[in-house]
């Protein structure tokens, strides 16, 4: 099932959704999509809103109820959930996502949509082709990277530093595109352009996205 959550707060810059699976929100930095039918309800011209997951959190549904320690020597980790089935009902996992673009009429756009995502609509995993098509252009990174990204509060309690979100997104897209080295190099350059006046910030991101194996020699173009 590609539905992974439901929007419970929505703003022009993004939304907060409750994840259907407890403790398993979509990965930080991953691309998610909200599918809107057009105004007439016909699916032919629907609009798909793309967003990048910027934050995740699991806590009691009732904000005044805080989690307490439940483990014992015999019962710990996943067993706690079997032991206390009501936890599935009293806890919820939320995630925040920042809007980075949308698809309409077969075209991809990488700026904020004029309408915000409707409350209670589903959040989906995008298809592999959607990821490919959307990330072929890199302008969407401008909506995530400081200093042009929306302020943290606006995109929903973002307590993850925006640089880390950008890095997480790049790593995720790189894998989703089948370890596309060329894309990674292009994305790194785009980020270098955006962070040109703060090289420590740039290095923070570059160190977080460079391919892991030392033998991955990147060829000079």
């Amino acid at each position: 099932m590609s539905r992974i959550g439901e929007i419970i707060e929505t703003m022009s810059t993004g939304f907060v959704a409750e994840s259907f699976e407890l403790n398993r929100p979509p990965a930080l930095g991953s691309l998610v999509v909200v599918r809107l039918p057009d105004e007439a309800g016909a699916r032919a011209t629907e609009v798909d809103l793309y967003a990048v997951v910027t934050y995740g959190r699991t806590a009691g549904i009732d904000p005044s109820r805080r989690a307490v320690r439940r483990s014992t020597d015999e019962v710990f980790d996943q067993a706690i959930y079997r032991q206390n089935p009501e936890l599935e009902r009293t806890l919820r996992t939320e995630f925040c996502a920042a809007l980075v673009g949308f698809a309409s009429g077969g075209q991809m756009y990488q700026h904020l949509p004029s309408q915000l995502p409707p409350l209670h609509f589903s959040v989906h995993h995008p298809t592999a082709q959607e990821v490919q098509r959307f990330t072929n252009r890199l302008q969407y990174l401008r909506l995530l990277a400081p200093p042009y990204a929306a302020p943290a509060a606006a995109s929903g309690a973002g307590q993850v530093p925006p640089l880390q979100v950008v890095a997480a997104n790049v790593r995720w897209v790189y894998k989703a595109r089948g370890r596309d080295e060329e894309w990674l190099k292009a994305a790194a350059r785009e980020i270098a352009t955006l962070l040109k006046s703060d090289h420590e910030a740039l290095l923070t991101v570059l160190y977080a996205i460079e391919p892991v194996h030392a033998t991955d020699a990147v060829e000079e173009s």
Partner: protein, 400 residues
């Protein structure tokens, strides 16, 4: 804000001092009391209780009466204990609780809101949980009066409370489904709705109808029911002990010459939970029958009780007579309560099923306000504007 904390703080300290000085004395009384519990001659107690209380319709003391259940009970006087049997691998526990927005005296509109919360938790090989609530707004005559046709006995105060208790059990009919697993129902609070004791009989019957119907439903479904009272303040057994040691007429203490007079007087303030503080974790006390007058209206659903060590506090558990007399059901209930307390995240332990039921039942202040606004808006749309009482307005506005 204008509370003067200065003088109060001194008084708090005096109180603390006095309290602490009492502890060793209390311990001594408790020891002696427990000794009496252990050595109690149950038949003699039964006879005494019959003699002194059997005649009177109402006695100032609530006492705990030994059950008529043959030789299997009361092997150690009144101090017998039973350890919790192991809970079955797969079972269900249902907790229910109710909450309400009572009729608002300051509002010209007469209505109230009932919210019953329940938690149906399944443990074992396929754990799951259903947490939900049922809410209703009541405004019709049949909701507002015990006898709607005659507009008699408006539902206010304790009557309203009793109606609430009924609602909290009525929901079980909708919630419980046939299952191969053993099910236990717990409710927050007593089964004995003693608040109704001053009502006329016909009112009592009317108000208890839903409550008792639900209990019958459970009996017919072979589902044991328990009313769980945390940190009980009851003194039934303490009173029975006083009767037991009394050498004269219980209650007529003037001129008493007994050696145990001091103990008797102490027992006047000692609570059952202190008496049974020596229960081990998971153990329950003997079963006792309650002498509450209102139980006359319960018929064969009358409630008995026992004390239980939840592992941090002594709780009082009330069960219908049909559970007391069925070992299997009593054992299951005991096992499940113990199991629940072991799963409790907090301290002292409290059954999660009841905790969640309560959370489902709770109506917040903002929800309260929301209902008020909904009502006002609805009426407003139809052209009728609501004005509240002056007192209420002054409380809300609090202008200077």
């Amino acid at each position: 804000m204008p509370l003067k904390l200065g003088p109060i703080s001194g008084q708090v300290q005096s109180m603390a001092k006095a309290l602490v000085e009492q502890f060793p004395v209390q311990e001594d009384y408790l020891r002696r009391a427990r000794k009496h519990l252990r050595s109690a001659d149950v038949d003699r107690l039964r006879a005494k209780l019959e003699r002194h209380f059997g005649r009177q319709p109402r006695f100032p003391w609530l006492v705990a009466k030994p059950l008529d259940a043959g030789q299997r009970l009361y092997q150690q006087g009144l101090a017998g204990t039973t350890s919790a049997p192991p809970a079955p691998r797969d079972f269900c526990v249902v907790g229910t609780d109710g909450s309400s927005i009572p009729p608002d005296r300051h509002s010209p509109v007469r209505y109230y809101v009932v919210n019953v919360g329940y938690a149906l938790i399944t443990y074992g090989s396929e754990p799951s949980a259903v947490l939900d609530s049922q809410s209703q707004l009541c405004f019709e005559d049949r909701d507002m009066y015990v006898f709607p046709k005659e507009h008699e006995a408006p539902l206010e105060g304790v009557r309203f409370g009793a109606r609430m208790e009924g609602e909290s059990l009525r929901i079980l009919r909708d919630v419980l489904q046939a299952s191969t697993r053993p099910i236990v129902v717990l409710r927050d609070g007593p089964l004995t709705l003693w608040t109704l004791q001053n009502e006329e009989e016909k009112v009592q019957h009317a108000l208890l109808r839903d409550f008792l119907d639900a209990m019958s439903f459970l009996r017919d479904s072979h589902i044991p029911l328990g009313g769980y009272i945390s940190f009980s303040g009851s003194r039934d057994v303490a009173n029975s002990l006083r009767v037991l040691i009394c050498e004269g007429q219980p209650g007529q203490c003037h001129g008493c010459t007994s050696d145990e007079r001091d103990l008797c007087q102490a027992l006047a303030t000692i609570r059952d939970r202190d008496l049974f503080a020596n229960l081990e974790e998971g153990q329950r006390s003997e079963l006792f029958a309650s002498s509450s007058q209102v139980l006359e209206a319960y018929g064969d659903q009358r409630a008995d009780f026992f004390y239980f060590n939840a592992g941090g506090e002594i709780a009082r558990v009330e069960v219908p007579r049909w559970v007391s007399l069925t070992d299997e059901q009593l054992g299951l209930l005991h096992a499940v309560i113990h199991d629940q307390c072991q799963r409790s995240p907090g301290f002292p332990p409290y059954p999660p099923a009841l905790l969640e039921a309560h959370e489902q039942a709770v109506i917040t202040v903002s929800e309260r306000r929301l209902i008020e606004e909904m009502v006002e808006q609805s009426l407003g749309q139809l052209g009728h504007h609501v004005t509240r009482s002056a007192k209420d307005d002054s409380k809300r506005r609090r202008g200077v």
